[in-house]
């Protein structure tokens, strides 16, 4: 089985973001200088993919990543230490303002170009959301472009059953889960958080991954994704009032009381 994870980089979550209007539309100030990480939603998908591959010998994990090549190279030095995968790099913007359809088209094209790929024995993984691109639509469009109609969003668990069918638990409204059974691949799974912790940095895994990462980066295809036809009326960050408290060992009752007070306003 092939498991293809779609995921790219986002600014390090603790960075201070400032929207600006650049030559090609909205952008983040100093975006190329901001430290970047693998999108945490995609990260969950990657770790689940690796776990699934480990349980199913012969499986292979690909990571399809669309982002500025230089930044991808940097981020991969950390990601590569986590789990085994083969990188398929696309050189283009990973900004939060690119059109989900254009991004999905580039990713789907890259997946289609994987030599010898049997789509009927393939699962497409990604984040159901993105820390920078919150449309939640990219994975669905990737699936549509690949002709994969079995799509699941907000996935928290996947189990391959004895008959080869996929038992999938999705988040649905009202804080509940929906369990579906999909007869067989292909399927698109947009992962929520999954159930796995972030793997430890493993230098041996990093070394093994690196054999493919640098060649992939060197031949990364330019993918000039844009903001498409989208017109941004305005871009702003949520307003915030900084009342920092760093307090530890607070009793649960006190935390609960503070939350209740805050919710009640």
């Amino acid at each position: 089985m092939n498991i293809i994870v779609c995921g790219s980089l986002v600014p390090d979550p603790l960075q201070t973001l400032e929207p600006i209007t650049g030559p090609t539309g909205p952008a983040l100030k100093n975006e190329m200088m901001l430290p970047s990480w693998l999108d945490p939603w995609a990260g969950h998908a990657l770790y689940e993919a690796s776990n699934l591959a480990a349980k199913n010998p012969g499986s292979k994990v690909y990571l399809v990543s669309l982002g500025p090549k230089a930044k991808l190279q940097q981020v991969m030095m950390t990601v590569a230490q986590k789990v085994p995968f083969e990188l398929i790099a696309l050189d283009g913007s990973a900004g939060g303002f690119t059109d989900a359809a254009e991004t999905a088209a580039a990713i789907a094209e890259a997946i289609s170009a994987i030599p010898g790929l049997d789509l009927n024995n393939t699962l497409i993984f990604g984040g159901w959301e993105s820390a920078s691109r919150g449309a939640g639509a990219t994975m669905q469009i990737v699936g549509e472009r690949l002709g994969i109609t079995d799509q699941f969003e907000g996935v928290d668990s996947l189990e391959i059953q004895a008959d080869g069918s996929l038992k999938i638990m999705e988040r649905v409204e009202g804080g509940k889960h929906q369990i579906s059974v999909c007869t067989a691949p292909p399927a698109v799974l947009g992962w929520a958080t999954g159930n796995l912790p972030e793997p430890r940095n493993n230098p041996q895994v990093g070394m093994a991954n690196m054999r493919g990462i640098m060649p992939s980066l060197q031949k990364a295809k330019p993918s000039p994704v844009t903001t498409g036809d989208i017109a941004f009326a305005s871009v702003s960050l949520p307003s915030q009032t900084r009342t920092t408290q760093v307090v530890k060992d607070v009793p649960p009752d006190q935390i609960a009381a503070e939350l209740v007070a805050w919710i009640r306003g």
């Binding site: 901001l34 950390t78 920092t244």
Partner: protein, 617 residues
């Protein structure tokens, strides 16, 4: 080394500890020589014949370029590595333009100035505009040549090292692995045979826990130690092999800085370099460098010869930036980034054994910093290039990395270089500061003007030999009873005493504005973006708790850049790894000698994961 744990093993040819300017120079030079123009390996792997050279670099921070500092450098060696260097290709780099040295008078009345300086201040104020006094600052009419950085570059070392890392990794000759702290060098039969990475999945005490993964042993014929002035491997080698006779590590400084968006319309031009002396305390130096796009980095150095038992970096930095001369430019600015690091200020006299069987040391931790010209990055880079040239020579000759061979190639190159020549001139430049601030300034100028022939002598001593008691330092300004009350109160609250004591002696309250004047904890969150991954042991520990309890000053708490060390039960310091920025100030600010080796302190500072997450420093 003996233990029962079955550790993963890996073979490499060269393993490098730490990625900063020194390893940047080393790997840039090595990578350039690794392949022939047709792409075939020019340097063959001795451990894997037929394969290209296997070079690994392990960086403890979560990404390359985190946790280092901004500088102005004459970039002599860096330009040799990149002859076509265009600063505009490096984010935040600017060619040096105007350079000024400013003497800052004390606008608060709280600065602890010696009599001679107070008299000078009075005279300067009386002369006023005749001496160019403006905004309580006087521009020195003349800057000695040794302090000039004509033709140099202002750099964000974070951005610079990321740029270098990208270039090096793109060659495919080198792998740089961030988030990979090295816990120790593997030493067998007096030879370094590789390094051991840190265990993961352990408790704060280092005991195995869920997801335990023993750190891998990476065996290599050559270990390049470039882990900076307070690096764990440098410390280990110093303990194992000692330091050359007459050398010591007594002089240090903490550099703390902000990177800010200057207010719109600020007159400071990119390339401007300001150095300050005189305020907030006479021993504290300041700097301000202007990057492109209306961005500046500025900060202060708090040296080990500032004999204040409650010395601190953050509070003094806030007073420094509010000095009227600086505030005219900074008011209305906004914090982008914040960080701090230790500087090895012993320079050439802090040089360890540069090479041994299986290892070589480069960069700041190898004593390359020039303490006269206040320059370290270019020197560190140069030592890396020198080692790379030596390694290339030895590989091509098929010779092993023995002490003898490394001495004959690397150490020889270094001894014959400008780094050595200028380092020798600078060797005694700071000695005068052991006698006081004014002798220190005079001594530095004499050293510079006479090319090191005339100095004001002084004997640098370890912190525990020189720091006075709180009662002695504050003298009549705060009574002993009051000090005891403040100390007890702060211990109870688990906070440092420096803020309360500074309030008490007249330092004005900080008018927090949420943008530039922010609380220390907000600086961590807004500027440093400090974080630490789970599953690693505490890298700062206090093995002699009884000595800590009896310590009257606890400079480790006061000088902790991230407020990661606080007073705990019975006054014992408590460490919070999630706030640590790995500056290493605790290591040299401890006022208690190690019972086994009085050259060391009773704070253990080892390698650890996490820390700053800002790449702009």
């Amino acid at each position: 080394m003996s233990e029962a744990i079955d550790r993963p093993q890996m073979e490499a040819d060269i393993v490098c500890v730490g990625f900063g300017p020194a390893s940047g120079g080393f790997l840039t030079r090595l990578a350039a020589a690794a392949f022939n123009p047709d792409g075939s390996p020019a340097l063959e792997s001795p451990s894997m014949p037929g394969m290209p050279l296997q070079v690994m670099c392990y960086e403890r921070a979560d990404d390359i370029g985190f946790g280092v500092s901004g500088v102005v450098t004459n970039a002599k060696a860096i330009r040799e590595s990149f002859p076509d260097l265009d600063p505009s290709q490096i984010p935040m780099a600017a060619s040096v333009g105007e350079e000024k040295i400013l003497y800052l008078l004390d606008p608060t009345g709280a600065s602890r100035r010696p009599l001679a300086m107070r008299l000078a201040d009075t005279a300067i104020r009386a002369a006023g505009s005749l001496l160019g006094l403006k905004n309580d600052a006087m521009e020195l009419p003349w800057t000695p040549e040794f302090l000039h950085k004509d033709g140099g570059i202002i750099l964000s070392i974070g951005q610079f090292t990321q740029w270098v890392g990208s270039q090096v990794m793109a060659t495919g000759a080198v792998q740089i692995w961030p988030g990979s702290p090295v816990s120790e060098a593997i030493i067998e039969n007096q030879a370094v045979t590789g390094v051991r990475l840190m265990d993961q999945g352990v408790t704060k005490d280092g005991a195995s826990a869920d997801g335990y993964m023993p750190g891998m042993d990476v065996r290599a014929p050559l270990t390049v130690v470039a882990d900076g002035p307070v690096g764990a491997i440098g410390q280990q080698l110093d303990k194992e092999f000692g330091v050359p006779d007459g050398h010591h590590l007594h002089d240090w400084a903490l550099g703390m800085k902000f990177v800010v968006d200057l207010p719109a319309g600020c007159e400071l031009k990119p390339g401007t370099v300001l150095h300050t002396i005189g305020f907030p305390e006479p021993e504290i130096f300041g700097f301000l460098y202007v990057h492109p796009d209306n961005v500046a980095s500025f900060g202060i150095f708090v040296p080990s010869w500032f004999d204040n038992p409650t010395r601190t970096g953050y509070r003094y930095l806030q007073h420094w930036m509010q000095h009227p001369y600086l505030w005219q430019y900074l008011k209305g600015g906004k914090l982008r980034s914040w960080g701090a690091k230790t500087l090895q200020e012993s320079g050439k006299r802090g040089e360890p054994h540069l090479a041994g069987d299986g290892f070589a040391r480069i960069g700041e931790g190898s004593g390359s910093t020039n303490v006269l010209t206040n320059s370290g990055v270019d020197e560190a880079w140069a030592t890396g290039v020198q080692l790379a040239d030596a390694v290339i020579e030895l590989l091509k000759a098929g010779k092993p990395f023995t002490k003898e061979n490394l001495d004959a190639t690397y150490v020889k190159r270094r001894r014959e270089s400008w780094v050595e020549a200028e380092g020798r001139i600078a060797e005694k430049a700071r000695d005068g500061f052991q006698r006081g601030v004014i002798p220190g300034f005079i001594g530095t100028f004499l050293t510079g003007l006479t090319q090191g022939h005339i100095n004001i002598p002084g004997k640098p001593g370890a912190t525990h030999t020189r720091v006075p008691t709180l009662e002695s330092y504050y003298g009549s300004r705060i009574s002993s009873d009051e000090i005891a009350r403040i100390r007890k109160d702060c211990d109870t609250k688990g906070i440092a005493a420096s803020g309360v004591l500074m309030d008490k002696v007249g330092w004005p309250e900080i008018p927090f504005d949420g943008e530039l004047l922010v609380s220390h904890q907000d600086a961590l969150l807004m500027g440093g973006k400090v974080q630490a991954p789970h599953g690693y042991a505490d890298h700062v520990t206090f093995p002699y708790s009884a000595d800590c309890e009896s310590c009257g000053c606890k400079i480790c708490v006061e000088m902790c850049s991230g407020q990661a060390i606080t007073p705990g039960e019975n006054g014992r310091p408590v460490f919070d790894r999630e706030k640590c920025i790995h500056c290493g100030a605790c290591l040299w600010n401890c006022a208690k000698p190690d019972p086994k080796n009085p050259e060391l302190t009773i704070v253990s500072f080892q390698a650890g994961a996490g820390g700053l997450h800002s790449g702009e420093n």
